[in-house]
Symmetry: C2
Subunit: 390 residues, 2 copies
């Protein structure tokens, strides 16, 4: 019988501008929290996977997987420590690679960590690094930054589907409200529509509140072969579906920039593997690096029809208490977006929800959750389906 995989431990740091702590400190905190949550010893760990986007450009440090292994205290056993990178989908990718390794029968227990330390450099340099996620020769070299490309997507979506500036802003208002209930979020203050609309522009039509912040942070999971997971955990969460898909890096190579084919392809693969349809999903964390990105996500995942994402969000359907609560953690917008950590942080939130431990932001009786993690402007997408109560 094919081996299956569960999550038996989660850990996360408070996201924010954490100037007094280094990448390794953050990685250590998240890792140890996850190991403690799983109630395992470090000797039980068979391998480590790390998702991180650009420690090279941010910190002059590549080869971080053995660094984190050392800092978490598992280097002495010489276990494999692997870094994967797919821009800000690095965390989701790390989950998939670790899941795959357990499925392949190589390991039973794997720690998966994601982290980024973005604020040790100035904002200009951070923006340049962010823009390394898009095509250097065809986009960034000519001055296109990541936010400006998303602004182009937003403009086109507005033109093509009548999406309004207010609908974009509604994403930020909702996610800040959710973030206000998350003690680990970078921003825990609510904002109103007027504040979002009157904020300074980043790349029009996107303003400051339409963009996820620069963040430092780390998150970690302990994955475990399912039969073992049931023995060692009171409340294991099963990874029932995993989907990964790619797309051209450059927007210019795509027929339609208002849709990410990588999202729909990855979602269909993950749901099919889980034997689920989207209507089974009760809570989702989606990649709202920009407000327009969440609108694309709800459309491309299939929560609403193409072009109706703006109205869907505006209707309250994706707020807590709505039909399908999305980004209960506050999302990338309010929880924060330390690039490599984000995909893992999404899974941490869904685990909280499926365990029934999400506090004020709990979705009642949530049994099936979904994570959606995008790299850059959709060159990579990872979707996972998680299920509790098994």
């Amino acid at each position: 019988m094919a081996r299956e995989v569960g999550i038996v431990g989660v850990g996360i740091t408070k996201f924010g501008e954490v100037w007094d702590r280094s990448l390794r400190d953050l990685g250590l905190e998240a890792g140890v929290k996850a190991i403690n949550d799983a109630n395992i010893a470090s000797e039980d760990i068979d391998a480590l996977y790390v998702g991180i986007m650009s420690p090279g450009m941010f910190l002059n440090q590549e080869h971080v997987a053995p660094l984190i292994a050392d800092w978490v205290g598992v280097a002495g056993t010489h276990i494999p420590a692997t870094r994967v990178e797919a821009a800000d989908a690095s965390g989701g990718l790390a989950i998939r690679e670790a899941w795959m390794a357990i499925k392949a029968g190589l390991y039973d227990i794997v720690v998966v960590g994601g982290a980024e330390k973005m604020t040790d450099v100035g904002d200009e340099e951070a923006l340049e690094t962010l823009s390394a996620t898009v095509d250097q020769e065809w986009e960034a070299f000519f001055g296109a930054t990541l936010p400006s490309l998303y602004a182009m997507i937003a403009r086109r979506h507005m033109y093509q589907y009548g999406t309004t500036r207010e609908q974009l802003a509604a994403v930020a208002v909702k996610n800040h409200k959710h973030g206000s209930m998350n003690p680990d979020a970078q921003f825990q203050s609510v904002v109103d529509l007027k504040t979002v609309l009157s904020a300074g522009p980043v790349a029009e039509p996107l303003g400051v509140f339409d963009c996820a912040p620069f963040s430092d942070g780390a998150a970690a999971l302990v994955l475990c072969e399912w039969e073992k997971a049931k023995r060692i955990s009171q409340q294991p969460i099963k990874i029932t579906g995993s989907g990964q898909a790619g797309s051209s890096l450059s927007l210019s190579a795509r027929r339609d920039i208002t849709t990410f084919a990588s999202t729909s392809t990855a979602a269909q693969a993950a749901l099919k593997m889980a034997g689920r349809t989207l209507s089974d999903v009760q809570v989702a964390e989606v990649h709202d690096s920009y407000s327009i990105a969440e609108i694309l996500a709800v459309e491309d995942l299939g929560f609403c029809k193409k072009g109706e994402g703006g109205a869907f969000v505006e209707s309250g359907a994706t707020a807590l208490g709505g039909r399908i609560p999305i980004n209960t953690s506050g999302g990338l917008k309010a929880r924060g977006h330390p690039l490599g950590a984000t995909g893992i942080a999404q899974a941490v939130e869904i685990v909280y929800q499926l365990r029934g431990k999400a506090g004020a932001r709990q979705v009642k009786d949530a049994k099936v959750g979904l994570t959606h993690n995008v790299g850059g402007t959709g060159g990579t997408c990872l979707v996972h389906v998680l299920e509790g109560g098994a």
Copy 2:
């Protein structure tokens, strides 16, 4: 029955200082060569894995897997494209992750590429990037570069085991001789002992000829599930063993710097999986980023006793025609060392050998080969056992 994996196609570019071509051009050439060698169509490809060390620091470009997928012409099918990184062991790591994904049953045919473009920046900047493979906070920040750390290892090996300067140089002489028979090698000229010994110092005792060069290049493999591999290929090469191990990133955290525990751990795992002992191995590509590194490798892999690596190389045992020919390609020293490409290039050479197509440098009747790929100063090691004639 557990799924097994074979190599059905290989491709490599000529390594060197390739100022007139970009990373994507090199990736394209290697990828297309491998696809053509495998005689498959691009629609047959289920996924892509890319091993690359630091496109961020070298080229301001992260998220390269979808970029390469696009350039090779497979982005339109939205297949998963994954980048992995483990310093200069990134190529070997990409092989392992792709092998694992096929074993897990997710894909049947996977293209694995490795590449690096190092010479678009100046030598100072390239050296700084190389040194991002070691511990930034505990080593590089204080001025320790990658060559200076290997020089410390060499000094200690000389002190502890009586290894001589001439024995270090013998590695370079042998590998240049091998490289002179490899039309894809960066350096195809033989050098004598006197030349190596009188070359300018890089970090004493290591001179220019003791260090692998800065290189541009790419290499690719087509991996395929074994039953299918036997159907589509006349001469599939089976990956019978894969081993990965880690170690602390910083040398200061190790008890003994004259041995890489990651090498011995990975080798034992790979050989055990293959059901082989080291005496079965007839040809090997090992990680000679520095001459001392090859001496460590032959010792830690177990080709000779600890401390006897210098004499072993000097005896001619590892030269073509010797007991166990090592680095018939010219190794990192003479074939060149485009960091992410190296682990793949090693596998390409072993495939040539096992197919009996290695030309002047053919090891007679080679049936079992081994690749050994190290990241930085041993924080990561990948070992693979490849077998032909199945």
